[in-house]
């Protein structure tokens, strides 16, 4: 059983902060280069995959996933 960790998930394009409602409570930060970073509370592996699937479903371009 994996223990929950915090992650920083980076996607291309500027995502409205309202979307945080469907990302397991992750908060949305905007970078100067127009990218968006999702970060925040701990996710276990299945929650992380849920977030990644959501990114896929919204046709957002995933840049990186980093454990912090």
């Amino acid at each position: 059983m994996s223990k929950p960790e915090t992650y920083e998930i980076r996607v291309e394009s500027y995502l409205g902060i309202g979307w945080s409602y469907c990302f397991e409570g992750l908060t949305i930060h905007h970078e100067e280069n127009g990218e968006t970073v999702l970060a925040g509370p701990c996710l276990d592996q299945s929650a992380l995959h849920g977030v990644l699937a959501k990114i896929r479903d919204l046709n957002l371009k995933l840049i990186s996933v980093k454990r912090t």
């Binding site: 500027y14 979307w19 469907c22 479903d57 046709n59």
Partner: protein
């Protein structure tokens, strides 16, 4: 029957007897079909063989034809089909099959009880199904592939304003030459639209299945596939459909094999489209589909649309040039397509520069372009819009949805935003949430305005938004007015609660963060939720509520405790009980309470709460094996709640049942469980009733009443099927139980199906007590099929699960089975190590819960060559089992005892004991109990058969002799299979080099008790050849007799 009176088909012409008017009819013509309608039988004479066909009535009504012929003295039969299926090809096929099959496959297969419309040809009825028939039939009421939703088989209609995409359609068309076309891209790339357009105009017929999450059940999945193909060519797939609709639950292998066999006969190309394949996560479905791709019939072509690449052997197919892929880069709209869309379809006059900006900005994402077109249609300054859009970095969806909104009237804007948090929309719900009064008109306007609003039914009662559209609206609402979101959720909650949709209501209340409201709703509906057994959902909700707010509502505490106890979380349940006691101001001294005067709440209510607490505590005590405490707590509960609460009565009856069971009174135990089942069923506690019924059936099985147990499981499954109130926990138990029975009856395919289904349901409900025995059955099937390593892997996995869930009794049982597997592998050292370190005392507690362990110990002692210790242990186990009325255990013990006696050299007594075991086992059709004892049992059974037929040493009735013969046949086929396994795996051990393949084969048949004559028939060689093989075996093994050769062969692990 003289030829002159029987109508005869010769070649393709039917000749009728002279007294009938039509003298000849061509097979396949309307006259032929009309004649079949009135006929009862006919003879067929073809180039591949002859048979007599008879019309037989189905139990459930209707008729079918069956073919009979005598071949080498044996009667053979095969299913022909309904009248419509009787073509010249079919008649010839069956004639060929009847004569070509090996003798073994046909011998003795009993007539299934009249409801057989399963195809016998092509899926040979092996001897393994021999004794399983009756059960398969009695288990038949399970409609696992119930109603199929026909709309899922309809190709979605092509919308009128679609851009033609000839380049992609050409790729799809060229794909028909390959095995698989994969359309893999994220949402909004127009996968479904493209496939739908192409299928409407391609020359090949297209079968279409739109998948959803419930199709992860492999049987459901394949049912849809077969139904889709059947819709295309009803004649060809009649049989496959009949297999699915037959009362027996078919195995997935048999469906896929039948599908492939049918598809091979197809003459033109057929396309099968599986849309939304990304919803499929089931490994079993992936595996089945991989098998189909590997055995791909030449004329079938598969098209899969998915948001992610499916778990299929894509690399292999790609390498073989059998895969055509259309990915997001291909599906993105090109400049030409974008132009065609904006100018041709949307009638917007844009400059090439503008179009290029749009294409770049959306990266050709079709849903983005569609939204852009929608915005442009309402925009006065198209160029300005595009320039602004192109210069923006925001997420395409955010930007465009905002633009689309801006162009709507204020009313429509507000409506769209405010309803975006609803999964489904109806006029009444929308009115309640938004406060407008013309919900229906609004919904219809949106649908007409192309605003991504989809009706869910033909009455236009329920609608939903395209999920990308509603997602963006919802995000926008969150950003602009988070306060309103809460308010809207609260309104949605109230509407759902008023309409009795509790789950949705509670979820909206939680989303509104109105925990008070959520708690109130859950408390009010506690009984309903408990009756439905939605424990996991209850626990999830409770975790979302703050502890204080749960504590403040004692009914919530007790609901939580019921849910926890029902999912096996005993400690957590206990903690909540303490909170209730604290709240009620009572102090517990284990079995009674001191209730202070004037404590809060009404007296009756307090009493009822306490009754609940006692009942839950009783359940905890019972689960922990403290039966005495459980019984006294139950009695206290009953005193506090006389004749009121069924849930309390249920617990009392259950506890009594377990107490009787543990004290060795199986009869009274089953009565108590039956009573508990009745009480809970009457009061509508479906999940509890299921648990009780399954416990009852489990006891019946241990008592050795397998047929009775099967009836109980069957009844449980029927009750479950009648239940319409959606899902409830514990539904896996009857499947797992049935799987075990089917295994004992040697119906390995069906046992696998049932156990797998039970495990899946048990995993969904997180009920490991259901999952673990299911694993046990699957491991036994693997062992029966000769895959010992596979069985060991499964046991290891199950043991890990049992340990992490603290189910120690399951751990013990699993270890006992592992010891058996070691012994099968001749890994005696490991088994001895287990026996020496397990701390088992042969003079220990011999109750049922330890039986499996002691049986394993007896086996180890026997294998160690210490039969007298084994005999002693078995003697005492037998006494305990007999005293407790555990007939099933008695049979198992006697069977093992007979082997011990044989090993001790007391053959006569061995046969007497074996006879007793067989007489007890025969009426209930036990198979695996004997067959799992391996070659020594085969040898003993063979001499039993021989001696009893000679009338010396033992006697056997004809029924008993027939039963023994059946068992020997199962042994025979199993040992043969082992042989083939060794050959094909190439795992040849040292000793194996000694004997040739043929000699090994002969050796195994000897071990199974076959006579040289029978071996000759089986291997199609003369008896002299068999004898010379035997001679050669003797000399190679340095043996002088059959017994010596067998012993030597066992030493060398040849058997």
């Amino acid at each position: 029957m003289p030829r002159s009176t029987t109508p005869t088909v010769q070649g393709n012409v039917l000749s009728l007897p002279k007294d009938e008017q039509n003298l000849s009819i061509i097979v396949g013509t309307p006259d032929w079909k009309a004649w079949l309608g009135t006929a009862k039988k006919f003879s067929f004479v073809g180039t591949r063989g002859t048979f007599t066909a008879r019309k037989e009535r189905r139990q459930r009504g209707g008729w079918y034809w069956k073919a009979y012929c005598t071949y080498e003295g044996n009667l053979r039969r095969a299913y022909l089909g309904k009248s419509d299926a009787l073509t010249v090809e079919r008649l010839n096929e069956i004639a060929g099959a009847l004569t070509e099959r090996s003798t073994e496959d046909w011998r003795g297969a009993p007539e299934p009880n009249g409801s057989d419309d399963s195809p016998s040809v092509g899926s040979a009825i092996g001897t393994s199904t021999l004794l399983g028939w009756e059960l398969r039939d009695s288990a038949s009421d399970v409609q696992l592939h119930t109603s199929l939703v026909t709309t899922k088989l309809l190709r979605p209609l092509v919308r009128p304003n679609v851009v033609p995409r000839p380049r992609l359609e050409a790729r799809l068309e060229s794909g028909v030459q390959c095995k698989l076309t994969l359309v893999s891209a994220p949402a909004g790339f127009g996968k479904t639209t493209l496939l739908s357009c192409w299928s409407s105009q391609t020359a090949s017929p297209v079968a279409w299945v739109s998948l959803n999450a419930s199709d992860n059940d492999p049987l459901r999945f394949w049912s849809y596939v077969v139904a889709a193909l059947h819709a295309l060519c009803p004649d060809l797939f009649e049989q496959a459909l009949a297999l699915l609709n037959s009362s027996q639950r078919p195995s997935i292998e048999s469906i896929v094999t039948m599908l492939i066999n049918t598809l091979v006969t197809v003459t033109g190309d057929i396309v099968l489209v599986l849309d939304d394949y990304h919803v499929i996560e089931s490994l079993a479905v992936h595996k089945g589909l991989t098998f189909l791709l590997e055995q791909m019939p030449p004329h079938l072509h598969l098209v899969i649309a998915s948001r992610t690449d499916p778990s299929l052997p894509l690399a292999r197919l790609r390498g073989a040039g059998e895969l055509i892929e259309l990915r997001d880069i291909d599906l993105s709209m090109t400049a030409e397509e974008t132009t065609a869309f904006f100018t041709g379809v949307m009638r917007l006059d844009l400059s090439p520069e503008d179009i290029s900006v749009l294409e770049k900005r959306t990266e050709g994402w079709p849903v983005g372009l569609q939204l852009a077109a929608l915005s442009l249609q309402g925009s006065e300054d198209a160029h300005g819009f595009i320039k602004a859009f192109g210069g923006d970095h925001r997420y395409v969806l955010d930007y465009l949805v905002e633009e689309v909104l801006r162009q709507q009237s204020e009313n429509v804007q507000a409506f769209l935003l405010q309803t975006s948090l609803l999964d489904r929309l109806s006029a009444s719900l929308c009115e309640a949430v938004t406060g407008i009064s013309h919900g229906q008109a609004m919904l219809e306007t949106l649908e007409r305005g192309n605003l991504f609003t989809v009706p869910l039914d033909s009455d236009r009662h329920w609608y939903r938004f395209h999920h990308l559209f509603s997602g963006a609206l919802r995000a926008r609402l969150q950003e602009t007015d988070a306060q309103l979101v809460t308010e809207l959720h609260r309104k949605a909650c109230l509407w759902h609660a008023e309409h009795g949709l509790i789950t949705e209501a509670v979820n909206h209340a939680l989303a509104a963060k109105d925990l008070e409201l959520a708690g109130h709703l859950i408390e009010q509906n506690a009984l309903v939720l408990l009756k439905r057994g939605e424990y996991i959902m209850i626990i999830d909700w409770m975790k979302a509520l703050p502890g204080d707010s749960v504590c403040a509502r004692p009914h919530l505490c007790s609901l939580y405790a019921w849910a926890l106890v029902s999912t096996g979380e005993l400690d957590a349940a206990e903690a909540w009980l303490q909170k209730i006691e604290h709240r009620l101001g009572v102090t517990a001294d284990r079995i009674s309470y001191v209730v202070p005067e004037g404590s809060d709440g009404g007296f009756l209510d307090t009493q009822q709460m306490l009754a609940d607490v006692f009942a839950i505590r009783a359940t905890i005590a019972s689960n922990r094996g403290n039966v005495r405490l459980a019984l006294s707590l139950s009695r206290r509960a009953l005193e506090l709640s006389p004749g009121r609460e069924a849930i309390v009565h249920n617990v009392v009856a259950r506890n009594q049942g377990s107490a009787y069971w543990l004290s060795g009174d199986a009869d009274r135990a089953s009565k108590a469980f039956g009573e508990a089942a009745f009480i809970s069923w009457e009061a509508g506690y479906v999940p509890q009733a299921i648990v009780n019924f399954c416990d009852l059936a489990g006891i019946q099985a241990v008592e050795g009443q397998l047929h009775k147990a099967a009836r109980t499981y069957k009844q449980t499954l029927r009750l479950m099927a009648e239940q319409r109130s959606g899902s409830f926990a514990g539904t896996g138990a009857p499947y797992v139980g049935m799987g075990w029975l089917l295994y004992e009856w040697n119906d390995l395919d069906a046992a696998t199906c049932y156990a797998t289904k039970g495990i899946k349901l048990g995993e969904q409900d997180k009920l490991m007590e259901i999952v673990l025995p299911g694993y046990g059955t699957l491991a036994r099937v693997k062992q029966a099929r000769g895959d010992i390593d596979g069985a060991l892997d499964l046991i290891e996995e199950a043991e890990r699960l049992a340990r992490s869930n603290h189910l120690l009794q399951h751990v013990t049982r699993l270890s006992a089975f592992r010891v058996r597997l070691w012994l099968t592998q001749h890994n005696i050292d490991a088994a001895i190590h287990w026996a020496e370190t397990s701390g088992l005392r042969t003079d220990g507690d011999l109750r049922y819960r330890h039986e499996a362990t002691f049986m394993a110990l007896a086996r180890v002692r026997l294998a160690q060559g210490r039969p007298s210790e084994a005999a002693d242990l078995l003697g005492r186990l037998l006494e305990a089992a007999e005293r407790a009325g555990r007939g099933g255990s008695v049979i198992k013990i006697l069977a093992l005892q007979s082997l011990v006696l044989q090993a001790q050299g007391d053959r006569k007594e061995a046969l007497v004991v074996l006879r007793r075991a067989l007489s007890l086992a025969q009426p209930e059709g036990y198979v695996r109990t004997f067959v799992d004892l391996g070659a020594p049992m085969a040898a003993l059974l063979a001499s039993f058969f021989e001696l009893s037929s000679m009338g010396s040493l033992v006697t056997a009735s004809s029924a008993l002799a027939g039963y023994v013969q059946c068992l020997l046949t199962v042994f025979g086929s199993e040992l043969m299979k082992c042989q083939y396994k060794v050959g094909s795996n190439g795992q040849v051990g040292q000793g194996r080099d000694l004997l040739s393949e043929r000699e090994l084969e002969v050796m195994r048949l000897i071990a199974a008790g076959w006579s040289p004559q029978k071996i000759g028939q089986e291997l199609v060689v003369s008896i002299n050849t068999v004898k010379s093989h035997i001679k050669s075996i003797y000399s190679k093994l340095d043996a002088h007799s059959g017994t010596e050769a067998l012993a030597r062969a066992r030493e060398l692990k040849l058997l």
